[in-house]
């Protein structure tokens, strides 16, 4: 039982990371029916920019915790810019020439370029990201929880909540929802829908960058850290439904927990298998995702 709870805890934090990245896929899919297949690389770059900034601030004799907090705005700003570049240089050009799959190629290509940049700037070797909180686990009810794991869950939920509040409360957020509902009608309201789509790409990369700096302290940071995460989060987005806000959290948790269960009870080597089987099952039986239909009306 204790073992099981322990596994649950580590599954939850990884699952929330998948959830945030998948949330980013949803953001652009909602407004433009396109996705950034370089989402994993957006995560990588976010983590690496965070790495450099945190180390710089520590060099300025700031404590690791405050260095981490102060680095966040820069990481977010970087994510916004990086996402805008993907939309303006890749997606928009491809949709302009009415190429059906052009945006897929464009976002994959940009992802590869970003990964190359990461390799050249930060090298190919994994780096140790300074942990903002103690790495010694807390014992809660006999279960070991790393403080960073708590921060991951809180940070991920805060991000999604903030976007949800923005969409519901502000007129600009409503303009984003309107664009997702009906782009032509949104244009008739005076909404510059191209700009809304660029913004959703910016926000999508911001989520990935946040996921990057959340997971970096408990894993190794480097040019290759994002690829597998981006792919699994894609599976989560499909499982949870590309149009359902809540679905990605549940989808992320399902994948994160099954992975750590398989890793513990079978073999770490097979850790990736159940998630992919789940993905295949969902694709064949509920292509809109486990929560796709019901949530469409609620968002």
């Amino acid at each position: 039982m204790q073992n099981f709870l322990q596994i649950l805890v580590s599954g939850i934090s990884v699952g929330m990371i998948y959830g945030v990245i998948a949330f980013g896929y949803q953001l652009t899919f909602a407004t433009s029916k396109t996705l950034n297949f370089g989402q994993g690389e957006a995560l990588t770059l976010g983590a690496l920019v965070g790495f450099t900034t945190v180390n710089f601030l520590i060099g300025m004799s700031l404590g690791t915790f405050w260095a981490y907090i102060l680095a966040l705005p820069l990481v977010f700003a970087f994510g916004l810019v990086q996402g805008s570049i993907v939309e303006l240089l890749g997606v928009r050009q491809a949709t302009k020439i009415k190429s059906e799959a052009g945006w897929i190629m464009a976002t994959i290509a940009l992802g590869i370029i970003f990964k190359n940049i990461a390799e050249n700037v930060w090298g190919k070797d994994p780096l140790k990201f300074p942990s903002p909180v103690s790495e010694a686990p807390l014992t809660i009810g006999g279960v070991n929880v790393r403080p960073m794991e708590i921060i991951i869950v809180v940070g991920a939920l805060a991000m999604m909540l903030a976007v949800e509040l923005f969409n519901r409360r502000s007129i600009y957020g409503k303009a984003v929802v309107a664009t997702s509902n009906d782009r032509d009608a949104a244009g008739l309201m005076g909404i510059n829908t191209s700009r809304v789509i660029t913004f959703s790409y910016a926000l999508s990369s911001l989520s990935a960058a946040l996921a990057g700096v959340l997971i970096a302290p408990i894993t190794l940071t480097g040019a290759n850290m994002g690829a597998a995460l981006g792919l699994k989060a894609f599976a989560v987005a499909i499982i949870g439904g590309l149009s359902s806000g809540l679905g990605v959290v549940v989808g992320g948790l399902i994948l994160g927990i099954t992975e750590s269960l398989t890793g513990f009870y079978f073999d770490t080597g097979y850790k990736d298998v159940p998630g992919l089987i789940l993905l295949l099952l969902v694709l064949s039986f509920k292509p809109a995702g486990l929560f796709g239909k019901a949530a469409i009306k609620k968002v």
């Binding site: 009906d182 244009g187 008739l188 009306k297 609620k298 968002v299």
Partner: protein, 240 residues
């Protein structure tokens, strides 16, 4: 006022409109009638920038807006209640109305009193007040139609384009819609109205245009057109 000169437009390589010229003087209600597929909706779409005109001029208060993006045209004061309503189904009635005032709420048009206008819309369409928190997608067709009209009015437009506001409504609701249009006319709102109920449209309008196969087939003051034998035969039913 709105002045359409020699408008040419279509979809891809298919040309639908041939040299259409329509004038909507300030404070007047002009109607565009014609059979299905004549090109009425296409005309309104070209005017509001939903499709790019291939030729001609569209003057809004003297300024040529042909070729501008639809959001820029809206910001210049053109409101369009489109065919098929196109309400934002996952947003509430109130949010739909607020989005109608988007340029006002984002400093792209004079703000005025948005809350007062919201109340005015609820006075004009009491059914919307009852359902203000309801998601627009769950409204009945008639209610959605009223919402689309009210949403367009929230812009405080210089010119209002209405595409078949009575489409799919029960006869009593159709009467209500026309009563509302009369009230808007009394408020001197400049309107271009596309209607399938040609008789009712000519009853409220100042001036009318008849469209056939993408061309104008006739025009004149509404009360003249109403009594024109050819128009009566083609669009009003011979008996009436």
């Amino acid at each position: 006022m709105l002045e359409i000169k020699n408008l040419v437009a279509g979809y891809g390589k298919v040309r639908v409109l041939n040299e259409i010229s329509i004038s909507v003087p300030a404070g007047q209600l002009v109607t565009l009638i014609g059979s299905n597929g004549a090109g009425k909706t296409t005309t309104l779409r070209a005017v509001s920038g939903m499709i790019k005109p291939e030729g001609g001029e569209i003057l809004l208060n003297g300024r040529n807006i042909a070729g501008l993006a639809s959001h820029d045209i809206t910001r210049l004061g053109m409101a369009h209640s489109p065919e098929g309503r196109k309400v934002f189904s996952t947003l509430s009635v109130t949010d739909n109305l607020l989005l109608g005032a988007y340029p006002r709420l984002t400093k792209m048009r004079p703000k005025g009193d948005v809350d007062a206008d919201l109340e005015r819309m609820f006075d004009l369409f009491p059914r919307l007040r009852e359902r203000r928190e309801q998601l627009a997608g769950t409204l009945s067709g008639g209610e959605q139609q009223m919402l689309a009209m009210a949403r367009a009015l929230m812009l405080q437009p210089e010119v209002l384009l209405l595409d078949e506001p009575s489409m799919g409504l029960a006869p009593r609701l159709v009467e209500e819609v026309f009563a509302t249009i009369k009230r808007l006319k009394a408020e001197k709102i400049t309107m271009l109205l596309v209607e399938q109920f040609a008789a009712a449209a000519l009853e409220v309008a100042d001036y009318g245009y008849v469209m056939e196969n993408g061309r104008l087939a006739g025009q004149g003051p509404a009360d003249k057109l109403k009594n024109d034998p050819a128009v009566r035969a083609a669009y009003l039913g011979t008996g009436s």
